[in-house]
């Protein structure tokens, strides 16, 4: 990368972990302990000062994982939903009776969780509720308030109140396969990633459609900025940020902000939890931290090998964990 010599770098502040068998598929923080989720069956816990521990959380491959900062909840092809805490203890939260793959998990307000296996979505509040979608569930996302779940599937998204049997589920239609979903932090917009290289959005108050396109690849990673005003996305050789200002129309009619153009594609994004900045991982293993306001960037990892497949910030924003498809991983201490 010509010119990288002039860019400020935090590469030297990295504690390298790995290589880890199975490749890294996700990363989370439990306090200051990083949890690196591997593609086989394990979660590797990296405490700030202690020994790295490999926890065999599942009996098969881990397909999905989420965190609330206190626990990692993962779903696997062993049909189980497992909770792992920073001490390394695990607990089975649910087990699919037919051992179907647990494809998606979402964490809701007040410790509620939802997961899906095939066409079935399950929401566990005080009681377990189930919903059968018309086709296999492509993604799950809770609304920021209230016990309401967005269930993405073929040709749209269904909004479901698991505890309100009298409220019929509402379906937002859009032809195609929806593979990711997120509700804006203000609860006013729903955005899905599709099989095609584009996003689709709805303004929920009137179900108005928003089409957000221009990507070179399927968008596999997205992240809301700390102030909720930007949605950062992967899938292009620039960092694509869609504006969600606190105005009536949100991103409608507004072009995205495009930062840090490069010859390589962004595979994973994670917004800083406090500042308006984004960590973006590229398909050549490179990682940049980019300030949203002016695009100023800091090199966090030099280009090396396999694509970046995981990025996570600690809640205080001082630690950044990363991992690659090939199993390289590291923790950058920005303090």
């Amino acid at each position: 990368m010509p010119g990288n010599a002039d860019i400020p770098s935090v590469v030297e502040q990295t504690r390298l972990i790995g290589p880890l068998d199975g490749g890294v598929v996700n990363a989370h923080f439990l306090g200051r302990t990083a949890a690196l989720v591997l593609g086989d069956n394990a979660i590797v816990l990296v405490p700030p000062d202690g020994e790295t521990r490999r926890i065999a959380a599942h009996e098969g491959a881990i397909l999905t994982s989420v965190t609330d900062g206190a626990r990692v909840i993962s779903g696997g092809d062993d049909g189980r939903v497992i909770e792992t805490v920073s001490s390394g203890e695990t607990r089975v939260l649910a087990s699919d009776p037919k051992h179907r793959w647990i494809d998606h998990i979402a964490l809701g307000p007040d410790g509620t969780i939802a997961w899906s296996a095939g066409k079935n979505a399950y929401a566990q509040g005080k009681e377990l509720r189930t919903f059968e979608a018309a086709s296999t569930v492509g993604a799950l996302a809770f609304f920021p308030k209230g016990f309401r779940l967005a269930i993405a599937h073929y040709n749209g998204v269904t909004l479901w109140f698991p505890n309100a049997a009298e409220a019929p589920p509402q379906t937002l239609e859009r032809k195609g396969s929806h593979l990711g979903a997120t509700v804006s932090p203000d609860g006013r917009f729903l955005v899905t990633t599709m099989q095609e290289p584009l996003l689709h959005g709805w303004r929920l108050v009137d179900s108005q459609d928003m089409r957000m396109s221009g990507y070179t690849a399927r968008v596999k990673s997205f992240s809301w900025s700390a102030d909720g005003q930007w949605l950062a996305t992967s899938g292009a050789t620039q960092l694509v940020l869609w504006p969600f200002p606190h105005s009536k129309d949100g991103p409608m009619g507004k072009p995205p902000r495009l930062l840090t153009p490069s010859g390589h594609r962004i595979e994973f994004v994670a917004c800083h939890p406090r500042n308006a900045a984004v960590a973006a991982g590229y398909d050549n293993g490179m990682i940049f931290l980019t300030r949203i306001e002016d695009g100023a960037k800091i090199l966090a990892r030099k280009p090396s090998d396999t694509p970046v497949s995981a990025l996570a910030w600690s809640a205080d924003g001082l630690l950044l964990a990363w991992g690659t498809e090939g199993g390289e991983a590291g923790i950058i201490d920005l303090a």
Binding site: G23, D77, R100, S135, K175, G176, Q195, T306, P307
Partner: protein, 352 residues
């Protein structure tokens, strides 16, 4: 950098065949033979049961249309999900076998490998293997469009249950298969007994290996004695025309045909590439598969391509060898193909 070379990709074999043809028998043979390999198997949840393997995944055969304005561009969404999940266990198995239901169209499966980048990057479609019932296939070709699609699409055809038919009937059904798809390698079997290397690791969808462009009317089967009886034509197939071809009756299927084109003179790349793009855009719904080896003017590299409906994939393959005939060959298999239009279009691309 992120592109894995073809040999590192996990091969996926697509196993199709009409109900009761013997797909599950073949699958169990593949899994039980002492080959020392491990296979992950994707089966339809509502399909036949009784598969003895520790890595079996149930699929729902969910097909959806891509939002690219192309009505025949359909993708198996469940495969996108399952292959992604399976690749997390990479290294735990050597290959993947996808068994479809008897009524499935193979096209969405093939298109999934072209249309989903994740799938295409980590796995490759190795071959479409179709199991056909020697006794009932002729009937199914008349009443079930799916059966015809499966034959037309195949790279490898197992004409199974040959012990249930006479030599004459066998020759008849073979002629019907060849009338639809003269390019697939065809094996006559009983209880799906076949050497596994005839169905697995075929590389039939590999652009580097587009070889099977020669019609194989006369191909010998896998060893068991087969007599090409010079039988006389039945009079009752009023929708078919048949004549004898090298001892095998040769049918022209009224609906599904293949077109083979060749030119010893070089082609003009600036004419051919737009022409084939335009052709598959317009005729894609009726073109099931196409493939070709091309000799372009002022180009020392062989250009190879293949396509499924509207999707085309092509590339320079390697330099032409000195002793190799620089000849262009293209084949199309499809339904009610506009033969004259295609032939004329191809000829217009020949450098005059």
């Amino acid at each position: 950098m992120t592109e894995q070379s073809s040999s590192e990709k996990v091969p996926v074999t697509l196993l199709t065949g009409y109900l009761g043809a013997g797909k599950t028998t073949l699958l169990n043979r593949i899994l039980s033979e002492p080959h020392g390999k491990k296979y992950a198997v994707i089966v339809n949840e509502f399909g036949e049961i009784g598969i003895d393997n520790d890595l079996v995944v149930g699929a729902d055969e969910e097909v959806f249309e891509m939002n690219n304005g192309c009505i025949c561009c359909t993708v198996r969404g469940d495969l996108v999900r399952i292959l992604d999940g399976l690749m997390r266990r990479k290294g735990k198995f050597d290959a993947i076998i996808v068994e479809t239901t008897g009524l499935a169209d193979p096209a969405p499966v093939a298109q999934t490998f072209f249309m989903d980048e994740n799938v295409g990057r980590k796995t490759k479609l190795d071959a479409v293997v179709t199991v056909a019932d020697a006794k009932w296939l002729s009937e199914r070709l008349k009443d079930a469009p799916e059966a015809k699609n499966q034959i037309a699409f195949a790279d490898v055809i197992l004409l199974n249950k040959t012990d249930l038919v006479s030599a004459d009937e066998l020759s008849d059904v073979e002629g019907r298969i060849r009338g639809i798809n003269p390019y697939a390698s065809l094996h006559k079997t009983q209880r799906a007994q076949i050497p596994l290397n005839a169905v697995l690791d075929r590389n039939a969808f590999d652009l580097d290996r587009i070889l099977d462009l020669e019609p194989t009317f006369l191909e010998e089967d896998d060893g068991h004695d087969h007599d090409h009886e010079h039988s006389h034509e039945h009079g009752d197939h009023d929708h078919d025309h048949a004549h004898k071809h090298g001892g095998l009756k040769h049918y022209h299927d009224e609906e599904m045909q293949s077109i083979a084109l060749r030119s010893e003179k070089p082609l003009d790349a600036d004419k051919f590439l737009p022409w084939i793009q335009d052709l598959v855009q317009k005729e894609g719904p009726s073109i099931l598969r196409c493939k070709g080896i091309l000799a372009f003017k002022n180009d020392d590299q062989r250009f190879v391509f293949q396509g499924v409906h509207m999707i085309l994939d092509g590339n320079h393959q390697r330099p032409w060898k000195h002793d190799e005939k620089r000849e262009s060959r293209v084949v199309f298999i499809g339904r009610n193909l506009p033969r004259e239009l295609i032939t004329e279009g191809f000829e217009n691309c020949v450098v005059k």
